[in-house]
């Protein structure tokens, strides 16, 4: 059996400081067990004899950081998560985007910034398809470009595969949509190719430079910043603002807000839902 010395309080404080300063992940003083239970496997894999060596290894090899972040955070996602968000999309944002397309904008670019196993991006692709058909202009759906990114290589792989078990498929997805957009294959459910083709997945670390991703009309950043310290949240939202076109929109999770944060967005509301329009200077 490979082994590593138990995490000492001193080591916990060093790793906690590193996680907050480099990754923005904030741990409470009593969460030392999370560091030990979630990072031991990685520490052993890289040959660290104790968490001091592991700490030094993370500093020396920044490419380990995405794996640390992946292990310290949770992959949790549902289909059409948070009704108010999807109502806002259907009733306010998609009609606005359809108008932009009809006015000659070549395409609408959307970024699902922590796409996990794909449910957010694919939910949007399904909703766009439904709304375009209601308007009798199905071709508009092809002019939406949806990018899903995640720090977890496994999540990206699963998102691209677009195959879900019966428990996962049932979380937030109606029977009607399941029947329409999925094919049942021996106990699993495969998303139809026409919807899969609408979403592209890329491995991406939110600590990196966003410029290569291009400019977006809409960014989903839901339940991502909950792990981050205030400074990191502000940096994240500032970076997202730079990637949004004028009038571009950011969506946060139902329990999140920009309250008390210095972020260049104006609050907008629709029903119970909040969304955030970027404020561009000059």
């Amino acid at each position: 059996m490979n082994a590593i010395k138990p995490l000492s309080q001193k080591e916990f404080l060093k790793i906690r400081d590193l996680l907050v300063s480099v990754c923005g992940i904030e741990l409470k003083p009593d969460q030392d067990y999370l560091v030990e239970t979630r990072l031991t496997e990685l520490a052993i894999e890289i040959g660290a004899a104790d968490f001091s060596e592991f700490h030094r290894a993370i500093i020396a090899e920044p490419e380990l950081l995405p794996r640390v972040v992946d292990l310290m955070t949770t992959n949790e996602t549902l289909w059409f998560r948070d009704d108010s968000c999807w109502n806002t999309l259907r009733e306010v944002l998609l009609p606005k985007f359809f108008k932009q397309l009809e006015a000659g904008q070549p395409k609408i670019r959307v970024w699902s910034a922590a796409s996990s196993t794909g449910q957010e991006g694919y939910s949007l692709a399904m909703l766009i398809q439904e709304e375009c058909e209601k308007l009798a202009v199905p071709s508009l759906a092809e002019r939406f470009e949806i990018l899903g990114t995640d720090i977890s290589t496994a999540a990206i792989f699963l998102g691209r595969a677009a195959r879900y078990d019966s428990f996962t498929i049932s979380r937030g997805l109606s029977q009607e949509r399941r029947d329409r957009f999925f094919e049942s294959q021996g106990g699993t459910f495969q998303l139809k190719q026409s919807i899969r083709d609408r979403v592209e997945f890329k491995h991406f670390n939110l600590m990196d430079n966003f410029s290569p991703l291009g400019i977006f009309d809409l960014v989903f950043c839901r339940n991502v910043a909950i792990y981050f310290a205030k400074d990191f949240k502000e940096q994240l939202f500032e970076k997202i603002a730079k990637q949004l076109c004028p009038g571009g929109i950011m969506l946060l999770g139902a329990t999140e807000s920009l309250f008390s944060l210095n972020a260049p967005f104006a609050n907008r509301s629709h029903g119970n839902g909040l969304y955030y329009e970027v404020i561009k200077k000059g």
């Binding site: 059996m1 030990e36 239970t37 031991t40 977890s152 496994a154 699963l158 078990d165 106990g187």
Partner: protein
């Protein structure tokens, strides 16, 4: 194809985990207790165990310890998937050599991510 043995006394939980793992197309076996698990391990080469803690008879942690101390099985990685969520228990398991510890309720995404990591699957 990698072989995974799910050991849990709840047949419905075994079915849920089985379905989740099916997404990545493993050879999946099931055992309802430690005795059944040992019977499977005697005749089958297994790449990963997904193990519940609280089971009738020998509990999952004791089963893990007996496998860890047996040269024939010591290298089989184990992910503990359990309702046992006390910090002390988590630390005890990890310090004894359990590779990952997931508490119920769990997300299938997290389970698959940990399985991918432990089995070092190439997803590129």
């Amino acid at each position: 194809m990698k072989t995974i043995l799910i050991i849990d006394d709840s047949s419905s939980l075994r079915r849920i985990v089985h379905e989740a793992l099916n997404i990545l197309q493993f050879n999946i076996l099931e055992a309802g207790n430690a005795e059944e698990a040992m019977a499977v391990l005697k005749v089958t080469s297994v790449d990963l165990l997904i193990l519940d803690w609280h089971m009738p008879g020998m509990d999952g942690f004791d089963l893990f310890l007996s496998l860890r101390d047996n040269p024939q099985y010591t290298n089989i990685p184990v992910i503990m998937l359990t309702a046992e969520d006390r910090k002390d228990s988590m630390l005890k398991a990890i310090r004894a050599g359990i590779r990952h510890y997931l508490t119920k309720p769990f997300t299938h995404e997290d389970l698959l991510a940990r399985v991918v990591q432990v089995l070092k699957l190439d997803l590129s």
